[in-house]
Amino acid sequence: MNRLLVVFLSLLVGSVFAHTNEHANLGKQASSIKASGKVFHQSISIIRRMHPEFLHHKRDKTLRQGVRTDEYSLKGCVSCHANKNKTNNQYHSVDKKGQFCSDCHQQVGVSLDCFSCHRTTPKEGFL
């Protein structure tokens, strides 16, 4: 029974890393940062594994204590990782099918609840 659990958990965790470093929908800003050769996330595997923790920690600090820094701000995630529709020049919602957040979350079968309230595109007037 325990062995099964270990197998199951490693599959679960493994699926997070199974994703290649290439991402079709990395997002407009994120793609250009990557293309310029700069490093935003020190370790891709850490941000993949830990981003729920980071966001969770940050949300309580911001909402309850008024700490408003850029670090791990969901706004930051969205503004970097949102894609633009080439034809009408509008941003896609990051939680729509095939977009950055939902793409991965669907693959690993984890639902995400951020966007039942949070804005899914960069703020108005953001280029």
């Binding site: 940062i33 830990m50 408003r68 804005r119």
Partner: protein, 243 residues
């Protein structure tokens, strides 16, 4: 193997990277919060508001309501009926039964020191910050609406439909409760709430009630002011004069 996961280190390294990017790729996203609050708010401050109904015109109140809607993004719900639509700030006209005096006032969350909504919330979603601003933590709100039953000011609204295109600073969603936040996102940047800014006179004063030299404290010391439902001893952050 890599070294073991140490969360503190990662936060440090990643934050270093963040600052790096912020400088090299400035103007992208990350320099927007120039005067962002980096330390937790404390109870050395208590934010409050004083509304002088003798100076406040009806047009002022309409302006306050639309400034709030614009800032926070409520009021354009399509499916909700009149009584279902959010109502963070409302315009009231009250008449004294004995004297016949009529006052117009704006009513919103009164940001009580002893908020009944916080007492009744089963999940701690209804909360008061150290600096006295009462908020709903929508991450924890289960939509039970007990806070709406408990609020003496009818200040809270329930989101009755699916929303999209929310303001970046104001997450709002179906099935949760919301109310005036005293524009906490602006206050944390050192600005005044949108409704206060929209009024051109000094009919609405915003400031720190604990700072004896602030305009609001000075004014409260000299003019007659009241709290709505003062009998409940909630010690509201929003005060009124002229009613």
């Amino acid at each position: 193997m890599n070294k073991t996961l140490n969360r503190r280190d990662f936060i440090k390294t990643t934050s270093a990277a963040t600052i790096g990017v912020a400088t090299v790729a400035s103007g992208i996203t990350l320099t927007t919060f120039a005067s962002a609050n980096k330390v937790p708010v404390t109870n050395e401050k208590r934010w409050g508001m004083l509304i002088d109904t003798n100076k406040l015109t009806e047009a002022d109140i309409d302006g306050m309501v639309s400034a709030c809607q614009q800032e926070q993004g409520w009021g354009s719900e399509v499916h909700s009926t009149g009584a279902q639509r959010p109502d963070w700030i409302k315009k009231l006209k009250v008449k004294d039964k004995a004297t016949g005096k009529i006052s117009n006032l704006a009513l919103m969350c009164q940001h009580c020191e002893e908020p009944p909504c916080v007492d009744v919330c089963p999940t701690n979603a209804s909360m008061k910050r150290e600096d006295g601003i009462v908020l709903v933590d929508k991450h924890l709100c289960i939509g039970c609406r007990y806070c709406m039953m408990a609020c003496p000011y009818d200040a809270r609204s329930f989101v009755h439909e699916t929303l999209s295109n929310q303001k970046e600073h104001m997450p709002r969603g179906k099935g949760t409760v919301e109310a005036c936040t005293m524009c906490v996102h602006k206050v944390d940047k050192g600005e005044a709430p949108a409704c206060v800014v929209s009024v051109n006179s000094d009919a609405v004063i915003f400031g720190d009630l604990y700072d004896a030299s602030s305009q609001i404290s000075q004014t409260l010391k000299t003019v007659q002011s009241t709290q709505i439902r003062a009998d409940l001893n909630l010690n509201t952050g929003v005060r009124y004069s002229g009613i």
